[in-house]
Symmetry: C2
DNA sequence: CTTGAAGTTAAAGTGAAGTTGAAGTCAAGC
DNA sequence: GCTTGACTTCAACTTCACTTTAACTTCAAG
């Protein structure tokens, strides 16, 4: 199958778990690269698989594609990231996850404190108070809200 | 100001923290109701504030508007929800939050186990393995991912 | 009765992360 | 030389939760 050292779209799709359409999308967005055959077909270096793994991991941690793009840019151009690269980045991600967990736990605690009361008062209830929303950041005005996260597949 | 027992859009907006546009949107979506003046302007019952608090709380917990709509439908038509209503619903929400926290913690643990190795192997790394994504539900194919949650306001 | 703030509508826009469809190209096999 | 199947492009569509816009109308105070 891969006696060659380059991969087609469908090979990369199969191995990475991303749909071909997603791979094309990522290329448009500058997240991955591909060379072309004379016929214009994409050929991927095997290293793209590592890059895609990185993308999926970062995405799992909750980074936007834009953030991922920036973070990929901070990686060494065409070599395998070193331990220190990975250390720096994973520390960043861990902080992100810690914040998310903390926010959810705070929300859950508020919910617990509401369970007995049935209040849902606009003024008093921690979980419905718009000024006290866990997801509201200091500088973001308006109604921030917590996310889809693990939402049921909707049908 | 409110010697009357009905509220205008902007009063409800001010008190609930939702923008008038959001209130109109919720009405279109069947989440809230309003009567009309002869001139066609909306007038809200005071009870809408409690309903909106409920909507915001549910939204904070991560429910979609569609789910919220269904859950509102399970509430008694025009009376204040009882403690047992609220108990049932908040238990549901708590489960949701517990799942979210668990998913994030699992992801964080995987990240921790990766920090030393720098692997990001498609086959081995728990955090990048598409078949093992915390957010991937059994029946949802394709690339599920963990959420925006607390993402920076992007500028 | 006038004036200006606040209200109305439908439709379009936003942004994230892609997917889908139509129409076309390419290489191989028969 | 034609069919088959995998590939290509590009634009348009999707979902969610709203917001914005444009073009009016209504309400309440003075």
């Amino acid at each position: 199958m891969d006696t060659t050292d380059v991969l087609t779209v469908s090979e990369v799709a199969a191995r990475s778990g991303f749909a071909p359409s997603a791979l094309r999308f990522y290329e448009r967005e500058g997240l991955v690269e591909a060379s072309r055959t004379t016929g214009g077909q994409r050929r991927y270096q095997r290293s793209v698989l590592r890059r895609l793994a990185f993308i999926r991991a970062a995405s799992n941690v909750g980074l936007t594609l834009e953030e991922i793009r920036r973070e990929l840019g901070s990686l060494p151009a065409n070599r395998t990231p070193t331990k220190s690269d990975w250390h720096r980045i994973s520390a960043h991600w861990r902080t992100r996850l810690d914040e998310q967990v903390a926010a959810l736990e705070a929300l859950r605690d508020k919910l617990d404190s509401c369970i007995g009361c049935g209040c849902l008062s606009l003024k008093q209830c921690g979980i419905s108070n718009p000024a006290d929303t866990a997801a509201t950041t200091d500088d973001a005005p308006g109604a921030a809200y917590l996310p889809p996260l693990l939402r049921r597949p909707a049908h």
